[in-house]
Every structure is written in C-alpha cells, then in structure tokens.
C-alpha cells in the first residue's frame, strides 16, 4: 500500500468540473474535482427531490381523485424501476432525440438545448453558436442533466412515501382535538400535524438522503465525471487499485457520516419541538 502516487501528474482531464484541471494536474486534485462533481449533482438533486417528493406526497393525500391517482402512479412507476435503468433511459433520450449542437434548439438565442447539453447565460456572457458546439455561458452537460434528473425523480418517489406516511401517522384524534380547541386549518397544520409528522419523517428522510448521495456514483454509467468514475480512470492509469478503492470508501464514509450527523441534529431539534 503506497499513497505516494497521489502527488504524481494524472495525465487525464475531466470534461466538466469547478476545479481547473490541466493535463499535468496531480491525482489528488483530479480526485477532489471528482468529489466536487459528486456534490455538484447530489446537493441540487437533494433539494429538488425533497420539493418534488413533498408535492407528490401531499398529492397522494388529496381528495381530488385525478391528482391522487397521478401521484400514486408516479410513486409506483419511479419507485419500482431500477435507478440505473431510469438514468440510461433519460441519457439516451437526451442524446438520441435532441438535435446536434450546431442545430441546437434555441430560446431567444440565449438558452440553447442540444445533444451537447443545456447552455444558459452566465454572469459575464451569453452562449453563442460555435463551429462545433455551443460556446460560452454556463453549460450543463447531458451527462449532468441525466444524473440530476434521474436522482430527482427516483428519490422523489421515496420522499413522497415518507411524507404520506408521516402525515397519516398523525392520529385522527389529535386533529379532532385541535379543531375542538378552535384552531383553524392553517394553525392545525402548522402547530399540530407538521411537528408530529416531522418526527416520523426525519429519520426515514435521512436514509433517503444518504441513498441519494451514494446513488450519485451511478454517474459513471453515463460518463459523468464524479468520484467513482474519476477513481476508475485513476486506477487504470496508476495501477493503484487497492489505494483508489480505499480512497473512495473513506470519502463516501466521511460524506455519509457528515450527512447523517446533520440529519441527526435536525432530528434532535424536531423532537424538542424547536422547529
């Protein structure tokens, strides 16, 4: 076991990332860039999955039959199809059905959508059509979009179930009691249903968030340069298989521990009724 290689130049680049990677960047830098790419897709996915999941979860409890059926259908569909399959389906849909970059769909010549991804204006410049691809602006690659979308729709299905179960766990007697005390509907939800439901929801939500974080490693299947994908290439270039796998292992353990810690803090607060 020898970790000296992480200061050697890696000699391969990444197609996207916040860190600037040159062809002589050392392994540790490129692994760090991979980790940042994991977070770059996992954190927004976490946010959107929670929002979408909340909406679908509440929809399942709606009295409107169509809304209820749609939300239940959503959960059953996305919860039961393997994530990898959803990811590949989304990725192939993007790379098969969208036009090539030089014929990109444009929205007012500022936002472009094509096989090369979604280009939106950044703070300093508006994207333009180049000879080959869209140049300038902020580009979300199709790989990134596919991983983000897949993580969001998949995890949202589970979050929706957690939300539904949490709200249904509040006993009807509690509601009736609150109404009898003269609370209106808003007060009932804010002061009685939500605090009680959250106590049930937070521990299961933590599990879903941890799963999402780890599921981001499926990005390797569509060529999104997240930690596992980068480490795979590093293994091949350096031949240091055991070392690189240990690095992945340790990083995920640390990430999960941090996420679990944060969720535990939230859980304590919720149980104290401080939210």
């Amino acid at each position: 076991m020898n970790f000296e290689f992480i200061t050697d130049p890696a000699g391969f680049g990444l197609s996207e990332g916040w860190l600037h990677i040159a062809f002589d960047s050392p392994y540790w830098q490129i692994l760090l860039a991979g980790l940042l790419n994991t977070l770059k897709v996992a954190l927004p996915a976490l946010l959107f999955a929670t929002l979408l999941g909340l909406f679908i979860g509440l929809g399942q409890l709606a009295t409107h039959p169509l809304l209820k059926a749609l939300c239940k259908g959503y959960v059953n569909l996305f919860r039961n199809v393997p994530l990898l399959l959803q990811l590949l389906a989304i990725y192939f849909a993007i790379t098969q059905f969208l036009p090539i970059a030089s014929q990109a769909l444009s929205f007012g010549d500022t936002v472009f959508l094509s096989k090369s991804g979604l280009a939106v204006p950044s703070f300093s410049e508006i994207p333009t059509r180049g000879r080959f691809a869209i140049e300038g602006g902020w580009v979300l690659s199709p790989e990134y979009l596919a991983v983000l979308l897949a993580l969001v729709v998949y995890t949202a299905a589970f979050v929706a179930e957690v939300v539904r179960a949490g709200i249904q766990a509040v006993k009807p007697g509690m509601r009736q009691g609150a109404l009898a005390l003269g609370l209106n509907n808003r007060q009932l939800n804010r002061h009685v249903v939500l605090p009680l439901a959250l106590r049930v929801m937070v521990p299961s939500l933590s599990n879903q968030y941890l799963n999402l974080l780890k599921n981001a490693s499926l990005g390797v299947a569509v060529g999104y340069p997240e930690l596992v994908s980068v480490a795979n290439t590093a293994i091949n270039q350096s031949g240091k298989a055991v070392e690189c796998v240990l690095i992945i292992l340790f990083t995920y353990a640390l990430l999960s521990a941090v996420a679990a810690g944060l969720m535990n803090m939230l859980n304590t607060r919720v149980n104290r009724g401080a939210l």
Partner: protein, 339 residues
C-alpha cells in the same frame, strides 16, 4: 551436511532447473489443457465474436497460436472479454494467462503493473474521426469541439497531451467503456472521436452506417505499439509467447504459411528446415514439442496471413500493411533469428 556440500547441492539443482523447467503459468496451462486469454469485447479485426460463436481477429490469433504451440490445438483457448479497466486486474489476479487485447506497451504498464509485454503484434497510432459535415481538414481546427474518448486508456492521456501541447481548447468527453464512447459519437453527442487509427477505420466501416460520411484526420499523434502481455514471475511462459509471435513473423519472411505448410515440410532450405523442427529441435529450450511451429502455421498461419485475413485485403477493414509490413518490405516487423 557441511555448508560447502549444501551449496554444491543447491548449485546442481539450480543448474538442472535451467532448461525446460516450466514456470507456474505454463505448468497450469498444460495441466488445464487450455490457454485462458483476455480479449476485448469487440474491436473489429482484433478480437470480435463472429455470428458462428467463434472469436476472430489478430489478438485472438496470438492466443490461438500459443495454444497450438503449447497444447497442439489452436481451439484450446478460453476467451474472456474484458473492459479496458478490468484487463490488468484480470491478469494480475491470475484469471487469464495472456492479455491480448489491443493493449499499448508503455513503460509504466510494463514495469509498474508487474507485467511483461511479450512482443509487438501491431504498430498503431492515435487519430481522430469526424463527420464530414464540419469540413475539418486538420486536428488544429478543433477549437471548441467535444471529443468522445474512452477513459483509462492511453488514448485519453494522449488526447489531453496533444490538445494541451498544441494549445487547442477542445473538450474530452470521457466514457468508461468503448462501446458507449463510440455510440455517443455516432449519435452526435460529440463532434469527434479519438482512438487508435486501426480501430477508427474499423468503426467507420462497421458502425457508422455511412462510411463515406466520415473522415479520419491526417494527424497521428502517438505511438501505439500493441501486443500481448503476461504476468511477471513465469519467464518460461513469457518466452513461449514471445517466440510464438516471432515464429509467425519469421515464417512470413521465409514464405512459409498455412497455404504451403505441407510442401514446406519437404523443403531443402535449411532455414525452413530449422523453423519446422527438421534439423534442429527449437522446441526443447522452450519446453515445447518439436513440431510447435508446424502446429502454429497449420492451425493459425503466419503473421502476414493472419493480418490479411483479419485486417487486410480479405477483411472488411482493408488496412494497408504500412508499419506492420516485414522489415524487408519497409515495415517494422522484425523477428530475432530462430536458431
């Protein structure tokens, strides 16, 4: 037993082990009665599974030749298709005996991964494939382009080095397997695709649907000597693989092959006699049967025959011999003398 006597015994035993004592891999191959060979999961001309369930290609022929030499039967090969990321791990773990999977010989792989590259079976170089609609004539025009490439290969490294040193701001889109990478290119996800030129030409003719719409750019920006690799620790097996390849090259130079082997066995030419085991037993120092070259040529053929059948005129790829011609014909294929 005195120390001196002990040393004498040791020296004697060492002297006897010097000849024809097989190493662990060669022993295992003979005992198993099969050569386990790691190949690619489908690169036209090098290793690809035919519709009849038979593996074919230059890399496949090397394994078959080793089986013919060691076991007398070119069919006694177990093929394992490997991704470029699995290949060295499979060899190191002893899952395969030979890695014959269009693998580039480099210093860091040879010395760093504890393997020996036995010989060079194909001199390749890396290039770029593009659709003609962009009207690109040279790699220098690639500013702003997205180039699909397979990760964990020398191709990825060469491409970033080439773009870096030439100051071309193009983007490499990296896929972890070859099939995904070229499919992404043909679907239009990338405007260019980069790998070894032989593979580019193979893809152009077999995967593009319209070979005439695609062009390989003239720049060749790397040396890619491809050849079989074995694990370190069995010098005897290493020697066998090495000399099997050399024998195929030497046979082409002498004009002996599958087509005329029966006539050649009657030949008076001393070099041919020697090669086929008539005058001299070249199999003995390698631990092989006397007729090992005859078996290789009868069942697999010489280098030129294998090349033409899989990559050259008789194949869909129609590759020129180029650097892979014999040294006597302006190429680099040169075998040390078999004597």
């Amino acid at each position: 037993m005195s120390l001196r006597m002990a040393l004498a015994v040791l020296a004697c035993s060492l002297a006897f082990t010097g000849v024809a004592q097989a190493g662990p891999v060669l022993d295992a191959v003979k005992k198993r009665d099969a050569v386990r060979c790691g190949v690619s999961s489908g690169v036209a001309g090098f290793s690809a599974l035919g519709s009849d369930g038979q593996w074919r290609g230059l890399d496949v022929a090397v394994c078959r030749a080793v089986a013919a030499a060691v076991l007398g039967d070119a069919q006694k090969v177990e093929f394992t298709p490997l991704s470029s990321q699995q290949r060295f791990a499979a060899l190191q773990a002893g899952q395969i005996d030979i890695l014959s999977r269009n693998t580039t010989w480099t210093l860091s792989r040879d010395a760093g991964l504890n393997v020996h590259f036995a010989a060079i079976t194909y001199y390749d170089g890396q290039g770029i494939l593009m659709h003609k609609r962009f009207g690109v004539k040279s790699g220098k025009e690639l500013k702003g382009a997205e180039i699909c490439v397979q990760s964990g290969t020398t191709n990825e490294k060469n491409l970033t080095t080439y773009l870096g040193t030439q100051g071309i701001k193009a983007k490499a889109i990296v896929y972890d397997n070859f099939e995904a990478a070229y499919k992404a290119f043909f679907s239009g996800r990338c405007q260019a695709f980069s790998t070894d030129v032989s593979a580019l030409i193979g893809l152009k003719s077999s995967q593009s649907g319209k070979p005439d719409d695609y062009v390989v750019l003239p720049e060749i920006f790397s040396k890619e000597p491809l050849g079989p690799a074995v694990l370190r620790g069995d010098d005897e097996f290493f020697a066998v693989v090495k000399w099997v390849v050399f024998a195929m090259i030497e046979a082409e130079e002498l004009g002996v092959g599958q087509g005329n082997i029966n006539k050649a066995l009657q030949s008076n030419n001393p070099a041919v006699q020697r090669l086929l085991g008539g005058a001299e037993n070249l199999g003995k120092p390698l631990g092989l049967p006397r007729n090992w070259v005859e078996n290789v040529l009868k069942q697999v053929g010489n280098y030129g025959e294998v090349f033409e059948a899989n990559l050259g005129k008789q194949s869909p790829l129609k590759l020129e011999r180029g650097l892979n011609a014999l040294w006597t014909e302006g190429g680099l294929m040169y075998a040390p003398p078999l004597r």
